[in-house]
Amino acid sequence: METRENQELVKMEKTGGKTRGVAVTALLLAIGVILRLVSPSIAGITPNWLIAMYCLAILLVRPGLKQSAGIGLVAGVVCMVTSKAIFPYANLLSEPVGAVACALVVSLTDRVKIFGLTLQPAVSTFIGTLVSGFVFITVTKIVMSVPLQVYLYGMLPVVLTVGAVNCAVAQVLYYPAAKLFAGRLAAAPKEEQA
């Protein structure tokens, strides 16, 4: 039998390794919950560790949009039960939307590098946090009839500040987290992928 020239390759879907993704996501969310509970606020601002952690999970596991929404929903439930906000139920909407926004940014900026350094963690977490925060405060404003002045000058700056803090946290944590959680199995045949 002759070896066929120009063999047509058939695309294969990944069917394994899902447990690993679930485990990494669960572990990061658990770390996020603990840090959220124990972190003190500095000048009234506390980094939202759960958002930073689910953004890291999305960066490491690369789930689809539906799966990202699922991760966000889990994070939203956890945020809701541990929140001190005036309308904690807003987390059920803000976190799935934030997670989807983060996943979209990750998929769109996959090859963007500056001087060989990927800023994907910072950019996706910043946008994910902003979207999540914006949805959260907007829902809170509408449901609780928060005055516009408070919304504009009290809530929005906090969202921006937390976004900036989360952005730095995600960029710093991404490389050690990738080394710990992504595993060598995925990295092993890199030279053969080239």
């Binding site: 070896t3 063999q7 390759l9 058939v10 695309k11 990944k14 394994g16 092993a188 045949p189």
Partner: protein, 290 residues
Amino acid sequence: MAAIVFDDFSYAYDGTTKALDGIRLEVAKGSFTVVAGPSGAGKTTLCLAACGAVPHYFGGSMAGAVRVAGVDTAAGSMGDIAAHVGTVLEDYESQLVTMTVAEEVAFTLENRGMKHETIARRIGEVLAQVGLAGLEDREVGALSGGQKQRLAIAAVLATRPGILVLDEPASALDPEGAEELYALLAGLNRETGMALLVVEHDLARVLAYADQMVVLAGGRVACQGRPEDVLPAMWRQPGLAAMVPPLWQIKLGLEEKLDESFAAWRNEEEAAAELGGFIAARRRGGEKSA
């Protein structure tokens, strides 16, 4: 039926650049097959394809088929394939997940729902096989690199696979450790009839044990067959000649210079014995003609 069959198998991680291209290869039951080749030749991908991680874990695009014990790896699940193939990858430490040596072996078996008595018996058996008997309660972190490697092999052996795939198992070992490891693997191959597929760039380490060699280059099979056929073929190819073991470089160089043919040397002793006889015969011939 062969243990592993690569039937015109091609694979690309990204869908376009082929890491493996039209691989046709049979690993016979009970054979000791060694895969060699330059960096990026597709050796690791070949191992991953044999254990089903390619394509199940990595996705990508493929053509042709890989059959393990008659099971098409793309059609079966990784669990089905793991029943036949034990795999120890280059980064063997990432396969060790528990605190102690006994727990590590037990972990594999507990995942298969085996009874406690069976697990306890198997732990003793496989640790004795790999030379770790008596270290059941030792912390995994306290083991040396060679012992960790043996433990990873023991954890795989506990499931009694018919095929063992190892990707550069001696890469982190010193020369003595590598020699011990290959002697252990050869013993398992002989005693249990387990087929071995081993990636090894230093062919001198496996020369004494291999009964089939496969050389990959650019994702294709450059040559394959018995070592005595493959090594001369490698010697004639400029890109592969440097990978020929020093003993065979001497043999093939002498054959070219002297226009003689020597036996297929497996170790230094065989070479010394034949060369000693050859030199003695030449001396006698020289004395007669004088």
